[in-house]
């Protein structure tokens, strides 16, 4: 008879995997990706393809030739996801060489310097975006007007609504009829994807709801205090990549807190920081910076926010 395998319990597994989660998020991003192709045509496709290919290439190159790892990690889906998310944060007329530079920073500095998947402190795609935003402020903030399907770097541009441009109607914001980065234009498509992730239990509600809720409340209060100066809360929610950030960037497993309590603190803080940066900061769009700042606080939050232990509730009630 063959020898029996001996190992410790549990002897069964729920069949979840890193790949399932990573590609699950990619699937959730499909509606928004299609929306970006619809509105920005060729330019969106070029940016998307360049970003994904560059991210996967850099992950493979660095892990194979600089870190000397034999194991192939590019199939786990995390580099593809970083590529999609980075592209979603770029305008559709960005030249290829700038995108490649962004991908190199995202994967190389944002992820691999820390040791690869699971080790990074900052969301790699956001690190790449912020790097480009600071390095190429002009190219990064001139958004093509939607509807120019065959245009790429020659597209006509306009200022972002948050930067003083004209504010489109709420329905246009919802469906994506506005200028902006690839992934931030159609809030509806992003929300459909988010619902998919919640249904597949890829993420929990804590981070997206706390961010969106905080922004709604905080910007709502400002608007009530002075409707002349401040934007109404609905527009605040539907612009500036807020939905993209809340559902897909801030929920990044690696860089967000572990306990639900911690996730709520993280979410509320991101919401507040976003409103503060948008209204009083130098940059019109605060979301990226808010998430990056809170990424840095994640280890601290993990240290202080423990999940409620079994039996703890009763102990407090007895006191």
């Amino acid at each position: 008879m063959n020898k029996l395998i001996v190992s410790l319990s549990p002897h069964v597994h729920g069949k979840d995997s890193v790949r399932k989660n990573m590609y699950g998020v990619c699937i959730a991003l499909l509606p928004a990706m299609l929306a970006s192709f619809w509105f920005f045509g060729l330019g969106a496709a070029v940016v998307m393809l360049t970003s994904v290919v560059a991210c996967v290439f850099f992950e493979w190159f660095i892990s194979r030739f600089i870190m000397g790892r034999q194991r192939l990690t590019i199939l786990d889906g995390s580099a593809v996801l970083t590529g999609i998310l980075l592209a979603f944060n770029l305008p559709s007329n960005l030249p290829i060489w700038i995108i490649v530079l962004g991908a190199l920073f995202a994967i190389g500095v944002g992820k691999m310097t820390f040791g690869g998947l699971g080790q990074n402190i900052f969301n790699p795609a956001l690190a790449g975006r912020v790097f480009l935003l600071i390095s190429f402020p002009v190219q990064m903030t001139s958004w093509p007007v939607p509807g120019q399907l065959t245009a790429y770097t020659d597209a006509v541009t306009a200022a972002t609504p948050l930067g003083g441009g004209e504010i489109p109607a709420a329905t246009d914001l919802l469906f994506g009829q506005m200028g902006g980065s690839l992934g931030e234009v159609s809030a509806l498509a992003l929300l459909i994807g988010c619902a998919f992730m919640l249904w597949r239990k890829i993420i929990t509600w804590h981070i997206p709801v706390s961010i969106l809720g905080t922004v709604a409340v905080a910007s709502g209060l400002l608007w009530l205090a002075n409707p002349e100066q401040y934007m109404d809360p609905l527009t605040s929610l539907l612009t500036g990549g807020l939905v993209l950030g809340a559902c897909y960037m801030a929920t990044d497993y690696v860089t967000s807190p572990m306990s639900h309590k911690g996730q709520l603190i993280y979410g509320v803080s991101i919401g507040l920081l976003t409103v503060i940066i948008r209204n009083w900061g130098a940059y019109p769009e605060g979301m990226s910076f808010a998430i990056i700042i809170m990424n840095a606080f994640t280890p601290l939050i993990n240290n202080y926010c423990k999940p409620t232990r079994f039996g703890e509730v009763r102990k407090e009630a007895a006191k």
């Binding site: 410790l8 069964v12 497993y253 639900h260 039996g311």
Partner: protein, 447 residues
Amino acid sequence: MKTFKIGGVHPEENKLSAGSPIREAQLPKQAVFSMFQHIGAPANPVVKKGDEVKVGTLLGEAGGFVSAPVYSSVSGKVSKVDVALDASGLRRMAVTVDVEGDEWEESIDRSETLVKLADRPELDGKTIVDKIKSAGIVGMGGATFPTHVKLCPPPGKVAECVIVNAVECEPYLTADHRLMLEHPEEILVGLQLVMKAVGVTKGYIGIENNKPDAIKLMTEKAAQYPKIEVVPLKVKYPQGGEKQLIDAVIGRQVPAPPALPIDTGAIVQNVGTCFAIYEAVMKNKPLIDRIITVTGKSLMQPSNLKARLGTPFSQLIDECGGLPEDTGKVIGGGPMMGKALLGLEVPMTKGSSGLLIMRQDEAKRAETEPCIRCAKCVSACPMGLEPYLLAKVSELRDWDAAEHEDIPSCIECGSCQFTCPSHRPLLDYIRLGKSTVMGIIRARSAK
């Protein structure tokens, strides 16, 4: 529908043998009785080589208060009193009996007639506890804690209710399910005996909703006893854990160690234990047999067997169609908390609730990937711990941190490892950390 509040997972149920009625296993040719069939001090052998024994003859007496006696489940001649390999993989003291015939001690009532509590008005609490103690009854869900100890709460603690654990949340296992379908009356009398022994008037039977036939039948039969309530529970693992069950049924949470379940006023007993208590008190039958589920996806005939303790596992598998060709792993117990066996020539014991045969393709663990900090283990942990962190600090051998993060609270249910997308061996490391930290705490309090 009620359930426990924190964490939990839902593994594939795979109750292959749920429709298979309990059948008697054949007598073994040789039975081996380990003196380590329970938690606590081992039993001490009282027979020697060459002694004639019957079914129900005492083989080993309890080695202390937290201990239990061991009785022979067969008749024949003692051939060996020596160490033998048992299901834990250790060689430990055991009594081996060569089986001849099937002769029972005359004191045991072998009739099928139901004896109700009302038929025996002279029984008082102390008599019942003494009977349970001398019959060698231990927790039959798998924990094998001596039952009489649980029925004697420490001074100052008062029991308020008894909860019967009929959850059977382990995938594959159906022994408790079948027992409820075939012996509901006996289980109810057993529960009443426990209630009388600890002097409480309220009894609950917690059954998961994947056993609607058992819920229906037990509810019907319990209607004659107004103080017994059947509580259907939402299917969620590890609901059969004592702390989770108390939380699910009466909504109270046992505080962190060193608090005991009795601090919530609840005493939990497994269904199989209740049945054994009935037999011990009403039929004068010591614990010599039990229901065991023998199952697996490749096994010809997944079954629920009523088998004598000491029967080798290999014989039980033969009775269910033999060991399949593609066997990769054999587990004593269920797939979530059971122990993988080193070999099949080990005897079944008081705690053997199941024997699970896994195919080769099911038996191997997948390759480990880096932790992606998805926090799914944190959401799954029924004790509100952070498994990723406990595993990490254990791996780094940082015992202070492990203690600070409440590692002794871990119930080793395996929900974290089950749910981990990176297939990390979380519980392997947590077990290492937990046992080390518990050792450090014991050494400190001994000073």
